[in-house]
Symmetry: C2
Subunit: 212 residues, 2 copies
Amino acid sequence: MGKMAADMTTRERIVEEALTLFSINGYKGTSVKNIADAVGIKDSSLYKHFKSKQEILDTIVETMRRHMEDMSDTFGLPSDDDLEEAASVYSGFDETMLVDFSKKIFLFYLKDSFMSRFWRMGNIEQYQNPEVSAVYRQLFLADSISYQTALFAEMIKEHIFTGEDAEVMAMYFYSPIFFLLSKYANEAEKEEEALGILEKQVREFYRIYRRR
Amino acid sequence: MGKMAADMTTRERIVEEALTLFSINGYKGTSVKNIADAVGIKDSSLYKHFKSKQEILDTIVETMRRHMEDMSDTFGLPSDDDLEEAASVYSGFDETMLVDFSKKIFLFYLKDSFMSRFWRMGNIEQYQNPEVSAVYRQLFLADSISYQTALFAEMIKEHIFTGEDAEVMAMYFYSPIFFLLSKYANEAEKEEEALGILEKQVREFYRIYRRR
DNA sequence: GTCTATACCAGGATAGAC
DNA sequence: GTCTATCCTGGTATAGAC
């Protein structure tokens, strides 16, 4: 994203096209020639930029790892350091804000061009490539839960929500998002349907845990 | 499962070994020779049983489709027809029974040899093969939700649970199971950890929706 | 840094003997 | 219904000219 094709180096464009193809056809289902064709060079020329097909995949994973680190910014989420601040930001939280927050997370995963392609590639390659698997699992399974657990814990402490166990709350908040991503990642046209279901879930979540 | 290798025809053993290999290395990552080796025959001999590698995959999908139809039995679940009966069966439902019910579903998906291999293969191949995708999505995304929606709707009607929207309840009941399957499908050794988390989720679910 | 040409190998599938 | 031998294609990667 951000850069136009013209602004990108050939090396960057190879990574870009490879991620797209890997996310559609998988690593084994994508040939070096497929990637070269997409970039508009011959397959042999590609080896001036990468010493092997595997090295392209490694570069994608590395890029994703860096992308991940400044994800909070992209998200518009506060960083781990200032959770207290985060909670105070959300202290005027109402139902609508919680719904918007969940939709923001959902649509970021679904529509951000890097995220959505990595989601799909991660699904396909998670059992094959240990490095892909590690980043995929951290991103979509571990970090999401741990961040939201910390956030809900803070919000309980600040008496914004009631609840005994922040991790249980985080699971109830995030796992429907995860489920809907799995279901709708490949059906962009049904986005509205997905958002409708998500909204109902989150309104119920708010009803259950709001301070009474 | 149930049949020993000795009892199975060569054709059945090909399907069996192919599913195992596809679930580990994917369709493209598995060669006909890999399958033949696992069965103990030469790759060329395999073509006496199947006219192509694709036909093996089609047979697996077909087997899964049939497996699916009598899943309710395997599950120990009532069929769609007699939901009223199902609800009355659960009318004496307490927290422990709900926890056991959720663990049963979770462990069935995780440990049933056919299910767990199809789960993994479905994950890998969901964007590649339309037929795999259809069965995978029906099994793990659509049917689970619709069955549990019907069940909770009946239980609300019978005043066993309180709740406005059975589908929202079904999502809160099933999506943590789905999330935990995604997380632990490849880490059989952490089964206890997964069950611990599941139990906490379901106890919270019961606390929220039990009749008061 | 792009091209053409080519080496090399692995995979899917068939032919034909036993 | 299993084997050996073989065909063909397509994929990764390298060499060397421009």
